[in-house]
């Protein structure tokens, strides 16, 4: 699905990520094309979520640059970054809904902040977005009154409120049962097909990786960098790196107890 003839929407060059002087990832380089379904994969603790937080500006990289649509993001001042953030949506691992607001108010908030639409139009859009993720009828519920899977979907509706060009997902399948996970897969695929949205997804959910991903990068805690990049099916079949094979083939082969 990646469009090689169009310029990349995300460009990451020599990025170094970490917290309080501790380096987690170094010299990270990749780009993501328009409408691409791009996965950041790897074992627990390898820095997937850290990389995502640095991409969206929640943490400042120690070195390197992140550019969106050719414009600098990580180096830009706060005001410029906030303007660019209108182009993004993000679904957090927990949904991260604002607990004091109803689902409709949660979805409406980005629209209130970044558009000049009337109150009625905003309410209509919020209702539509919630219906899009299968939460029609729950508009006036508070986050505490719905299940974990519904929270994820409500979070997705909020992430889509401004019809962003890029949506970031942090472990969207964690804590979901297989049926709900499958529905989320379908929803993500449908959104990409309808709006041509670029999706950047952090996950180690192999079934969804093989089902959805156009391209993956695999991170490794030992090397603190990218150890594989490409189509996950090809990587599983052709990679010679034992770490890549072990990780990806776990999803394609029955589990055997090591000798």
């Amino acid at each position: 699905m990646a469009h090689s003839n169009t310029p990349p929407v995300i460009e990451v060059e020599h990025l170094e990520c970490g917290y309080a002087g501790t380096v987690v990832l170094k010299d990270i380089n990749f780009s993501v094309g328009r409408s691409e379904m791009f996965f950041i994969i790897g074992g627990s603790g390898c820095g997937k979520s850290t990389l995502l937080r640095h991409l969206v500006g929640l943490n400042q990289p120690a070195r390197g640059t992140v550019r969106f649509f050719g414009r600098p993001f990580s180096d830009a001042d706060l005001a410029t970054r906030r303007l660019q953030l209108k182009n993004f949506g993000m679904l957090f691992q927990s949904g991260a809904l604002w607990t004091s607001l109803t689902l409709r108010e949660n979805v409406a908030l980005p629209l209130e902040e970044h558009t000049t639409l009337s109150r009625r139009e905003i309410a209509e859009i919020a209702t539509l977005k919630l219906a899009q993720v299968g939460l029609g009828g729950f508009e006036d519920h508070y986050p505490a009154e719905i299940s974990g899977g519904m929270k994820k979907r409500a979070g997705l509706a909020r992430a889509l409120a401004l019809d962003p060009a890029i949506v970031f997902f942090d472990e969207p399948w964690s804590g979901l049962d297989p049926v709900t996970s499958r529905r989320l897969d379908e929803l993500i695929r449908e959104i990409r097909a309808t709006f041509g949205t670029t999706m950047v997804i952090v996950s180690h959910e192999l079934a969804s990786i093989f089902d959805l991903a156009d391209r993956v990068i695999m991170l490794d805690a030992g090397t603190q960098g990218i150890i594989a990049e490409g189509d996950p099916r090809r990587l599983a079949a052709e990679s010679r790196d034992p770490r890549v094979k072990e990780f990806l083939q776990r999803g394609t082969q029955p589990y055997t107890v090591p000798a």
Binding site: R53, F92, S94
Partner: protein, 376 residues
């Protein structure tokens, strides 16, 4: 291993063949049941050259069996005796090998730093804290300055909710404490003034000290514990739940969205609460004056009116507004600085109260000097 309930107790029997001892283990070995303990070779014939374990009819077994054999192995190692566990079940032997390896390869994790390192870290932390505070206060000031031109997007509903929470909902505790403080002040003053026949001046003492000092101060201390801690806990919890991150990724400033409505609510409510606390405090003094000193309430009121000037009232209200802003700032700052954990939220709430009370005392001292210089 099975998870059936025990049918027979754990048993150990020993048999000596010269200097070789065979230890036979049988029965059900459960950690939650009663199991034999290795008695460091007591009761064994000496000298011993080899200790051999065998399965003498083991039923269910768990870690209790491993601990028994491991203790025996350790004793053998110390005493220079050969220990043979080949007669035990294979899974037990594998786990014993793991236990032995982890026992010898465990590296103690050093968590204490030297004095110099700790001093360096503390200095760096203090510098980072100062930067955070300046950054936060600056962002609040910029947000407040831009409020008039973006008043439509201001969270008025949140602000009104907070005004109700810290204002109206705080009235009962403010009433009680202010009344008792007024009462106490009047008692203290009455004891001294009565000796000089200056009973009526109790009204002056209570009125002036309440309006200029005790009213705003007591309300500030109550709100620091009640509202400041609540702000820190709410914002800390939102941070732990990634709600603050969600705001940031949508390009919404947490200061504009969460902090300014709370600051404005406290800034508006504090002087009103202080005014109310002044009235209740004076009422407390009046009750003591009427009950103990037999001063009629009308005379007390006239004396109070004469003692308190508008300038006294204004200085108290100015202090109250300042205290309100300091409580709001410290509560919100500590909440936004909280670690992403339940313990972090608790620490943030405690820290918010301590910081607020410290700042209130410092600000009060500065005001005292300032008012003295200005002669108000």
């Amino acid at each position: 291993m099975s998870d059936e309930p025990p049918s027979s107790a754990a048993l150990v029997s020993t048999r000596a063949e010269g200097d070789r001892i065979e230890v036979s283990l049988a029965g059900e070995w459960r950690l939650t049941g009663s199991c034999p303990e290795w008695a460091d070779g007591r009761g064994l014939p000496t000298p011993v050259a080899t200790l051999r374990f065998r399965d003498g009819g083991l039923g269910y077994w768990d870690t209790s069996l491993l601990l028994y054999v491991f203790d025996a192995q350790e004793w053998c190692r110390t005493a220079g005796i050969a220990c043979d566990t080949a007669g035990l079940p294979e899974k037990a032997r594998a786990l014993l090998a793991q236990l032995g390896t982890s026992h010898t390869s465990a590296v103690p994790h050093e968590r204490t730093d030297s004095f110099l390192v700790m001093t360096g870290l503390a200095t760096r932390q203090a510098w980072a804290n100062l930067n955070d505070i300046l950054h936060f206060v600056g962002e609040c000031a910029l947000g407040a300055a831009s409020l008039p031109r973006r008043s439509k997007k201001f969270r008025w509903r949140d602000c009104i909710d907070q005004m109700q929470e810290c204002g109206a909902m705080g009235l009962p505790i403010v009433s009680l404490i202010s009344f008792l403080v007024g009462l106490t002040l009047a008692y203290q003053a009455a004891v001294e003034l009565r000796q000089f026949g200056a009973d009526i001046f109790v009204a002056d003492v209570v009125g002036l000290s309440t309006v200029r000092e005790m009213g705003p101060m007591m309300v500030a201390v109550i709100l620091a514990g009640r509202t400041g801690a609540a702000f820190a806990a709410t914002l800390g919890n939102m941070k732990a739940n990634e709600e603050i991150d969600a705001l940031e990724t949508l390009g919404i400033s947490a200061v504009d969205f969460l902090v300014l409505p709370r600051l404005l609510a406290l800034g508006l409510m504090m002087p009103l609460l202080a005014l109310y606390a002044n009235c209740v405090g004076i009422l407390g003094g009046m009750v003591v004056a009427a009950g103990i000193l037999q001063i009629p309430p009308s005379a007390y009121w006239i004396e109070t009116q004469g003692a308190i000037s508008l300038s006294d009232l204004n200085t108290g209200l100015l202090k109250a507004t300042t205290f309100g802003l300091l409580i709001g700032l410290s509560g919100c700052l500590r909440g936004l600085q909280a670690d992403r954990s339940a313990a972090g939220v608790g620490r943030a709430a405690t820290s918010a109260v301590v910081t607020a009370i410290l700042l209130i005392i410092v600000a009060d001292s500065i005001y005292a000097v300032l008012f003295h210089i200005l002669g108000v």
